[in-house]
Symmetry: C2
Protein backbone atom coordinates (compact mmCIF):
# COMPACT_ATOMS: atom_id res chain seq x y z
CA UNK A 1 0.00 0.00 0.00
CA UNK A 2 1.34 3.42 -0.99
CA UNK A 3 0.65 6.65 0.82
CA UNK A 4 -0.40 9.46 -1.52
CA UNK A 5 0.09 12.83 0.17
CA UNK A 6 -2.68 15.17 -1.01
CA UNK A 7 -1.57 18.81 -1.15
CA UNK A 8 -4.43 21.30 -1.20
CA UNK A 9 -5.29 24.86 -0.21
CA UNK A 10 -1.69 26.07 0.01
CA UNK A 11 0.89 27.84 -2.15
CA UNK A 12 3.44 25.97 -4.27
CA UNK A 13 6.35 26.88 -1.91
CA UNK A 14 4.30 25.70 1.08
CA UNK A 15 3.53 22.43 -0.73
CA UNK A 16 7.21 21.86 -1.50
CA UNK A 17 8.31 22.73 2.03
CA UNK A 18 5.75 20.43 3.61
CA UNK A 19 6.63 17.56 1.29
CA UNK A 20 10.34 17.94 2.16
CA UNK A 21 9.48 17.43 5.82
CA UNK A 22 7.57 14.18 5.22
CA UNK A 23 9.25 12.86 2.06
CA UNK A 24 10.81 9.75 3.57
CA UNK A 25 7.46 8.52 4.88
CA UNK A 26 5.27 9.05 1.83
CA UNK A 27 5.26 7.41 -1.59
CA UNK A 28 3.15 9.44 -4.01
CA UNK A 29 2.57 13.21 -4.12
CA UNK A 30 -0.84 14.52 -5.20
CA UNK A 31 -0.92 18.03 -6.61
CA UNK A 32 -4.46 18.84 -5.46
CA UNK A 33 -7.18 20.29 -7.67
CA UNK A 34 -7.05 23.54 -5.68
CA UNK A 35 -3.34 24.00 -6.50
CA UNK A 36 -3.95 23.23 -10.17
CA UNK A 37 -6.86 25.68 -10.47
CA UNK A 38 -5.07 28.38 -8.46
CA UNK A 39 -1.59 28.14 -10.01
CA UNK A 40 -2.00 26.07 -13.17
CA UNK A 41 0.50 23.55 -14.48
CA UNK A 42 3.35 25.35 -12.71
CA UNK A 43 2.20 23.52 -9.58
CA UNK A 44 2.74 20.10 -11.18
CA UNK A 45 6.02 21.15 -12.76
CA UNK A 46 7.53 22.57 -9.56
CA UNK A 47 6.56 19.54 -7.47
CA UNK A 48 8.06 17.14 -10.03
CA UNK A 49 11.25 19.23 -10.16
CA UNK A 50 11.53 19.20 -6.39
CA UNK A 51 10.75 15.48 -6.04
CA UNK A 52 11.78 13.74 -9.28
CA UNK A 53 11.99 10.36 -7.54
CA UNK A 54 8.33 10.42 -6.47
CA UNK A 55 5.18 9.49 -8.38
CA UNK A 56 3.33 12.77 -9.03
CA UNK A 57 -0.46 12.56 -9.23
CA UNK A 58 -2.19 15.54 -10.88
CA UNK A 59 -5.72 15.71 -9.46
CA UNK A 60 -7.13 17.13 -12.68
CA UNK A 61 -10.67 15.82 -12.09
CA UNK A 62 -11.12 15.86 -15.87
CA UNK A 63 -14.72 15.98 -17.13
CA UNK A 64 -14.00 16.90 -20.77
CA UNK A 65 -11.23 17.93 -23.18
CA UNK A 66 -9.42 14.79 -22.11
CA UNK A 67 -6.51 14.62 -24.55
CA UNK A 68 -5.59 18.27 -24.01
CA UNK A 69 -5.83 18.12 -20.22
CA UNK A 70 -4.01 14.82 -19.83
CA UNK A 71 -1.18 15.62 -22.27
CA UNK A 72 -0.81 19.02 -20.59
CA UNK A 73 -0.30 17.58 -17.10
CA UNK A 74 1.85 14.66 -18.28
CA UNK A 75 4.12 17.11 -20.12
CA UNK A 76 4.30 19.15 -16.91
CA UNK A 77 5.64 16.12 -15.07
CA UNK A 78 2.66 14.15 -13.77
CA UNK A 79 2.91 10.35 -13.70
CA UNK A 80 -0.76 9.79 -12.87
CA UNK A 81 -3.80 12.01 -13.62
CA UNK A 82 -7.38 11.79 -12.42
CA UNK A 83 -10.59 11.70 -14.45
CA UNK A 84 -14.08 11.73 -12.95
CA UNK A 85 -15.99 8.46 -13.18
CA UNK A 86 -19.12 10.56 -13.84
CA UNK A 87 -17.55 12.04 -17.01
CA UNK A 88 -18.91 10.88 -20.37
CA UNK A 89 -17.43 7.49 -21.31
CA UNK A 90 -15.79 8.93 -24.37
CA UNK A 91 -13.69 11.20 -22.13
CA UNK A 92 -12.61 8.36 -19.84
CA UNK A 93 -11.70 6.23 -22.85
CA UNK A 94 -9.66 9.16 -24.22
CA UNK A 95 -7.83 9.58 -20.90
CA UNK A 96 -6.92 5.88 -20.94
CA UNK A 97 -5.54 6.24 -24.48
CA UNK A 98 -3.59 9.41 -23.70
CA UNK A 99 -2.02 7.79 -20.63
CA UNK A 100 -1.22 4.57 -22.46
CA UNK A 101 0.54 6.43 -25.28
CA UNK A 102 2.74 8.31 -22.81
CA UNK A 103 3.28 5.31 -20.50
CA UNK A 104 1.41 7.08 -17.68
CA UNK A 105 -1.46 6.07 -15.46
CA UNK A 106 -5.12 7.07 -14.97
CA UNK A 107 -6.87 7.27 -11.63
CA UNK A 108 -10.67 7.20 -11.96
CA UNK A 109 -12.29 9.22 -9.18
CA UNK A 110 -15.56 7.48 -8.27
CA UNK A 111 -17.09 10.50 -6.51
CA UNK A 112 -20.79 10.66 -7.29
CA UNK A 113 -20.87 7.46 -9.36
CA UNK A 114 -23.65 4.89 -9.03
CA UNK A 115 -22.87 1.17 -8.66
CA UNK A 116 -24.08 0.72 -12.22
CA UNK A 117 -21.57 3.32 -13.45
CA UNK A 118 -18.77 1.74 -11.41
CA UNK A 119 -19.49 -1.70 -12.84
CA UNK A 120 -19.30 -0.25 -16.35
CA UNK A 121 -15.93 1.36 -15.51
CA UNK A 122 -14.43 -1.96 -14.38
CA UNK A 123 -13.44 -2.64 -18.00
CA UNK A 124 -10.54 -0.20 -17.56
CA UNK A 125 -8.16 -2.78 -16.11
CA UNK A 126 -5.15 -0.45 -16.25
CA UNK A 127 -6.78 2.30 -14.19
CA UNK A 128 -6.62 2.91 -10.45
CA UNK A 129 -10.13 3.17 -8.97
CA UNK A 130 -10.48 5.75 -6.23
CA UNK A 131 -13.32 5.45 -3.71
CA UNK A 132 -13.72 9.07 -2.65
CA UNK A 133 -15.62 10.89 0.08
CA UNK A 134 -15.24 14.52 -0.93
CA UNK A 135 -14.00 17.39 1.24
CA UNK A 136 -17.42 19.01 1.20
CA UNK A 137 -19.10 15.75 2.23
CA UNK A 138 -16.63 15.44 5.11
CA UNK A 139 -16.80 19.04 6.28
CA UNK A 140 -20.49 19.57 5.92
CA UNK A 141 -21.89 16.16 6.80
CA UNK A 142 -19.12 14.69 8.95
CA UNK A 143 -18.95 11.69 6.61
CA UNK A 144 -15.55 10.04 6.19
CA UNK A 145 -14.16 7.22 4.13
CA UNK A 146 -14.05 4.36 6.56
CA UNK A 147 -14.54 1.39 4.31
CA UNK A 148 -14.33 0.59 0.64
CA UNK A 149 -17.98 0.96 -0.22
CA UNK A 150 -17.61 -0.44 -3.71
CA UNK A 151 -19.51 -3.04 -5.75
CA UNK A 152 -18.17 -6.59 -5.39
CA UNK A 153 -17.18 -6.57 -9.07
CA UNK A 154 -14.36 -4.20 -8.14
CA UNK A 155 -13.59 -5.48 -4.65
CA UNK A 156 -13.28 -9.09 -5.75
CA UNK A 157 -11.20 -8.48 -8.86
CA UNK A 158 -7.66 -8.80 -7.59
CA UNK A 159 -6.30 -7.55 -10.90
CA UNK A 160 -7.68 -4.06 -10.24
CA UNK A 161 -5.84 -1.37 -8.28
CA UNK A 162 -7.92 0.42 -5.66
CA UNK A 163 -7.37 3.70 -3.83
CA UNK A 164 -9.31 5.41 -1.06
CA UNK A 165 -9.57 9.12 -0.23
CA UNK A 166 -11.54 11.26 2.16
CA UNK A 167 -10.67 12.01 5.76
CA UNK A 168 -8.45 8.96 6.24
CA UNK A 169 -6.81 8.93 9.66
CA UNK A 170 -4.33 6.54 11.26
CA UNK A 171 -7.23 4.79 12.99
CA UNK A 172 -9.42 4.57 9.92
CA UNK A 173 -6.51 3.27 7.83
CA UNK A 174 -6.65 0.09 9.92
CA UNK A 175 -10.23 -0.44 8.69
CA UNK A 176 -8.88 -0.90 5.19
CA UNK A 177 -6.47 -3.64 6.15
CA UNK A 178 -8.61 -6.43 4.69
CA UNK A 179 -9.13 -4.59 1.41
CA UNK A 180 -6.43 -4.87 -1.21
CA UNK A 181 -5.78 -1.16 -1.21
CA UNK A 182 -2.97 0.01 -3.48
CA UNK A 183 -3.10 3.66 -2.50
CA UNK A 184 -4.27 5.41 0.68
CA UNK A 185 -4.74 9.11 -0.06
CA UNK A 186 -4.06 11.24 3.00
CA UNK A 187 -4.41 14.99 3.19
CA UNK A 188 -5.14 16.97 6.31
CA UNK A 189 -4.26 14.13 8.73
CA UNK A 190 -0.67 14.85 7.67
CA UNK A 191 -0.70 18.38 6.28
CA UNK A 192 -2.59 19.87 9.22
CA UNK A 193 -0.93 17.77 11.94
CA UNK A 194 1.06 19.64 14.58
CA UNK A 195 4.00 17.49 13.56
CA UNK A 196 3.48 16.41 9.91
CA UNK A 197 6.65 14.25 9.86
CA UNK A 198 5.53 12.29 12.94
CA UNK A 199 2.03 11.90 11.48
CA UNK A 200 3.37 10.63 8.14
CA UNK A 201 5.73 8.29 9.95
CA UNK A 202 2.83 6.88 11.98
CA UNK A 203 0.89 6.19 8.76
CA UNK A 204 3.89 4.38 7.33
CA UNK A 205 4.18 2.25 10.46
CA UNK A 206 0.54 1.19 10.27
CA UNK A 207 1.03 0.17 6.63
CA UNK A 208 4.18 -1.78 7.49
CA UNK A 209 2.24 -3.57 10.25
CA UNK A 210 -0.65 -4.39 7.88
CA UNK A 211 1.83 -5.74 5.32
CA UNK A 212 3.51 -7.84 8.01
CA UNK A 213 0.18 -9.31 9.14
CA UNK A 214 -0.70 -10.23 5.58
CA UNK A 215 2.58 -12.11 5.15
CA UNK A 216 1.92 -14.25 8.22
Amino acid sequence: MNIQLALDRMTIPEAIQLTHVVREHIDWIEVGTSLIKEFGMESVQKLKEAFPEKIIVADMKTMDNATYEFEMCFHAGADVATVMGVAPHVSIETCMEAASKMNKKVMIDLLGTTNEQINALAVYKDAIFCAHVSKDQQELTGKRNQSLNLPSKLLNDSSLELAAAGGITIDSLKDFKDACLSVAIVGSAITKADDPAAAACAFKEVITTIKGEKML
Copy 2:
Protein backbone atom coordinates in the same frame (compact mmCIF):
# COMPACT_ATOMS: atom_id res chain seq x y z
CA MET B 1 -30.09 36.03 -25.25
CA ASN B 2 -26.43 36.67 -24.42
CA ILE B 3 -23.47 35.28 -26.31
CA GLN B 4 -20.85 33.76 -24.02
CA LEU B 5 -17.51 33.51 -25.81
CA ALA B 6 -15.72 30.37 -24.60
CA LEU B 7 -11.94 30.70 -24.61
CA ASP B 8 -10.08 27.40 -24.53
CA ARG B 9 -6.81 25.80 -25.59
CA MET B 10 -4.91 29.08 -25.98
CA THR B 11 -2.58 31.30 -23.98
CA ILE B 12 -3.80 34.25 -21.89
CA PRO B 13 -2.42 36.85 -24.37
CA GLU B 14 -4.10 34.98 -27.25
CA ALA B 15 -7.39 34.94 -25.32
CA ILE B 16 -7.17 38.69 -24.67
CA GLN B 17 -6.22 39.50 -28.25
CA LEU B 18 -9.06 37.40 -29.68
CA THR B 19 -11.61 38.92 -27.31
CA HIS B 20 -10.52 42.45 -28.31
CA VAL B 21 -11.33 41.59 -31.93
CA VAL B 22 -14.88 40.40 -31.16
CA ARG B 23 -15.71 42.40 -28.02
CA GLU B 24 -18.50 44.53 -29.50
CA HIS B 25 -20.43 41.44 -30.65
CA ILE B 26 -20.22 39.28 -27.55
CA ASP B 27 -21.71 39.71 -24.07
CA TRP B 28 -20.06 37.31 -21.64
CA ILE B 29 -16.48 35.97 -21.61
CA GLU B 30 -15.85 32.41 -20.46
CA VAL B 31 -12.38 31.65 -19.14
CA GLY B 32 -12.35 28.00 -20.19
CA THR B 33 -11.39 25.09 -17.95
CA SER B 34 -8.26 24.50 -20.02
CA LEU B 35 -7.03 28.06 -19.35
CA ILE B 36 -7.76 27.73 -15.64
CA LYS B 37 -5.94 24.39 -15.31
CA GLU B 38 -3.02 25.55 -17.46
CA PHE B 39 -2.49 29.04 -16.03
CA GLY B 40 -4.49 29.14 -12.81
CA MET B 41 -6.40 32.16 -11.51
CA GLU B 42 -4.12 34.52 -13.42
CA SER B 43 -6.28 33.67 -16.47
CA VAL B 44 -9.45 34.95 -14.77
CA GLN B 45 -7.69 37.99 -13.35
CA LYS B 46 -6.12 39.09 -16.65
CA LEU B 47 -9.37 38.68 -18.61
CA LYS B 48 -11.31 40.72 -16.03
CA GLU B 49 -8.62 43.43 -16.08
CA ALA B 50 -8.73 43.60 -19.86
CA PHE B 51 -12.55 43.59 -20.08
CA PRO B 52 -13.93 45.03 -16.81
CA GLU B 53 -17.26 45.86 -18.46
CA LYS B 54 -17.97 42.24 -19.41
CA ILE B 55 -19.44 39.39 -17.35
CA ILE B 56 -16.58 36.95 -16.73
CA VAL B 57 -17.54 33.29 -16.39
CA ALA B 58 -14.93 31.05 -14.76
CA ASP B 59 -15.51 27.52 -16.06
CA MET B 60 -14.29 25.93 -12.82
CA LYS B 61 -16.29 22.71 -13.26
CA THR B 62 -16.24 22.38 -9.47
CA MET B 63 -16.79 18.88 -8.08
CA ASP B 64 -15.63 19.50 -4.49
CA ASN B 65 -13.97 22.08 -2.21
CA ALA B 66 -16.72 24.45 -3.27
CA THR B 67 -16.20 27.41 -0.93
CA TYR B 68 -12.46 27.55 -1.60
CA GLU B 69 -12.79 27.22 -5.37
CA PHE B 70 -15.66 29.67 -5.73
CA GLU B 71 -14.22 32.35 -3.43
CA MET B 72 -10.88 31.97 -5.23
CA CYS B 73 -12.32 32.66 -8.68
CA PHE B 74 -14.70 35.39 -7.49
CA HIS B 75 -11.77 37.17 -5.81
CA ALA B 76 -9.85 36.82 -9.09
CA GLY B 77 -12.63 38.71 -10.87
CA ALA B 78 -15.19 36.16 -12.01
CA ASP B 79 -18.87 37.17 -11.98
CA VAL B 80 -20.18 33.66 -12.66
CA ALA B 81 -18.61 30.27 -11.86
CA THR B 82 -19.58 26.76 -12.94
CA VAL B 83 -20.24 23.71 -10.79
CA MET B 84 -20.98 20.25 -12.16
CA GLY B 85 -24.56 19.04 -11.77
CA VAL B 86 -23.12 15.58 -11.04
CA ALA B 87 -21.23 16.91 -7.99
CA PRO B 88 -22.53 15.90 -4.54
CA HIS B 89 -25.51 18.06 -3.57
CA VAL B 90 -23.66 19.47 -0.61
CA SER B 91 -21.10 21.01 -2.98
CA ILE B 92 -23.73 22.57 -5.23
CA GLU B 93 -25.51 23.97 -2.18
CA THR B 94 -22.19 25.41 -0.99
CA CYS B 95 -21.53 27.02 -4.37
CA MET B 96 -24.97 28.66 -4.26
CA GLU B 97 -24.21 30.05 -0.79
CA ALA B 98 -20.74 31.29 -1.73
CA ALA B 99 -22.13 33.06 -4.81
CA SER B 100 -25.04 34.57 -2.92
CA LYS B 101 -22.76 35.99 -0.21
CA MET B 102 -20.58 37.68 -2.83
CA ASN B 103 -23.47 38.76 -5.07
CA LYS B 104 -22.23 36.51 -7.85
CA LYS B 105 -23.88 33.82 -9.94
CA VAL B 106 -23.65 30.02 -10.32
CA MET B 107 -23.93 28.15 -13.61
CA ILE B 108 -24.77 24.47 -13.13
CA ASP B 109 -23.22 22.40 -15.91
CA LEU B 110 -25.61 19.54 -16.66
CA LEU B 111 -23.02 17.37 -18.45
CA GLY B 112 -23.58 13.73 -17.54
CA THR B 113 -26.66 14.36 -15.37
CA THR B 114 -29.74 12.15 -15.52
CA ASN B 115 -33.24 13.65 -15.81
CA GLU B 116 -33.79 12.66 -12.19
CA GLN B 117 -30.70 14.64 -11.14
CA ILE B 118 -31.76 17.64 -13.24
CA ASN B 119 -35.22 17.67 -11.68
CA ALA B 120 -33.64 17.67 -8.22
CA LEU B 121 -31.40 20.61 -9.23
CA ALA B 122 -34.40 22.72 -10.32
CA VAL B 123 -34.72 23.95 -6.71
CA TYR B 124 -31.77 26.27 -7.33
CA LYS B 125 -33.87 29.07 -8.80
CA ASP B 126 -30.96 31.55 -8.84
CA ALA B 127 -28.69 29.33 -10.90
CA ILE B 128 -28.20 29.26 -14.66
CA PHE B 129 -28.69 25.73 -16.02
CA CYS B 130 -26.34 24.79 -18.83
CA ALA B 131 -27.30 21.99 -21.23
CA HIS B 132 -23.89 20.83 -22.38
CA VAL B 133 -22.60 18.52 -25.10
CA SER B 134 -18.93 18.20 -24.21
CA LYS B 135 -15.94 18.77 -26.51
CA ASP B 136 -15.05 15.08 -26.39
CA GLN B 137 -18.62 14.07 -27.27
CA GLN B 138 -18.52 16.46 -30.23
CA GLU B 139 -15.08 15.54 -31.50
CA LEU B 140 -15.30 11.83 -31.04
CA THR B 141 -18.95 11.13 -31.77
CA GLY B 142 -19.90 14.08 -33.97
CA LYS B 143 -22.72 14.93 -31.54
CA ARG B 144 -23.64 18.60 -31.22
CA ASN B 145 -26.02 20.59 -29.11
CA GLN B 146 -28.91 21.20 -31.46
CA SER B 147 -31.82 21.40 -29.09
CA LEU B 148 -32.41 21.86 -25.40
CA ASN B 149 -32.76 18.23 -24.42
CA LEU B 150 -33.92 18.99 -20.90
CA PRO B 151 -36.79 17.72 -18.72
CA SER B 152 -40.01 19.72 -19.03
CA LYS B 153 -39.65 20.81 -15.40
CA LEU B 154 -36.80 23.07 -16.51
CA LEU B 155 -38.01 23.97 -19.98
CA ASN B 156 -41.45 25.04 -18.79
CA ASP B 157 -40.31 27.05 -15.77
CA SER B 158 -39.97 30.54 -17.16
CA SER B 159 -38.36 31.73 -13.92
CA LEU B 160 -35.24 29.64 -14.64
CA GLU B 161 -32.31 30.83 -16.74
CA LEU B 162 -31.07 28.36 -19.34
CA ALA B 163 -27.82 28.17 -21.27
CA ALA B 164 -26.62 25.85 -24.03
CA ALA B 165 -23.07 24.82 -24.95
CA GLY B 166 -21.48 22.40 -27.34
CA GLY B 167 -20.68 22.98 -30.98
CA ILE B 168 -23.24 25.75 -31.46
CA THR B 169 -23.05 27.26 -34.94
CA ILE B 170 -24.96 30.12 -36.56
CA ASP B 171 -27.34 27.59 -38.13
CA SER B 172 -27.88 25.59 -34.96
CA LEU B 173 -28.48 28.76 -32.96
CA LYS B 174 -31.69 29.21 -34.94
CA ASP B 175 -32.89 25.85 -33.58
CA PHE B 176 -32.94 27.36 -30.12
CA LYS B 177 -35.19 30.26 -31.09
CA ASP B 178 -38.27 28.77 -29.46
CA ALA B 179 -36.46 27.98 -26.23
CA CYS B 180 -36.11 30.75 -23.70
CA LEU B 181 -32.34 30.62 -23.81
CA SER B 182 -30.55 33.21 -21.68
CA VAL B 183 -27.03 32.32 -22.76
CA ALA B 184 -25.67 30.73 -25.95
CA ILE B 185 -22.12 29.54 -25.30
CA VAL B 186 -20.02 29.67 -28.45
CA GLY B 187 -16.41 28.58 -28.73
CA SER B 188 -14.73 27.36 -31.88
CA ALA B 189 -17.42 28.74 -34.25
CA ILE B 190 -15.97 32.14 -33.33
CA THR B 191 -12.45 31.43 -32.04
CA LYS B 192 -11.49 29.19 -34.97
CA ALA B 193 -13.30 31.16 -37.68
CA ASP B 194 -11.18 32.65 -40.45
CA ASP B 195 -12.66 36.00 -39.46
CA PRO B 196 -13.67 35.83 -35.77
CA ALA B 197 -15.17 39.37 -35.78
CA ALA B 198 -17.41 38.57 -38.75
CA ALA B 199 -18.45 35.26 -37.15
CA ALA B 200 -19.30 36.93 -33.82
CA CYS B 201 -21.18 39.68 -35.67
CA ALA B 202 -23.22 37.05 -37.55
CA PHE B 203 -24.17 35.37 -34.23
CA LYS B 204 -25.29 38.73 -32.86
CA GLU B 205 -27.41 39.35 -35.95
CA VAL B 206 -29.19 36.00 -35.58
CA ILE B 207 -29.95 36.81 -31.95
CA THR B 208 -31.26 40.25 -32.88
CA THR B 209 -33.50 38.63 -35.53
CA ILE B 210 -34.80 36.06 -33.02
CA LYS B 211 -35.53 38.85 -30.53
CA GLY B 212 -37.33 40.82 -33.25
CA GLU B 213 -39.48 37.84 -34.21
CA LYS B 214 -40.44 37.30 -30.59
CA MET B 215 -41.61 40.89 -30.30
CA LEU B 216 -43.94 40.61 -33.31
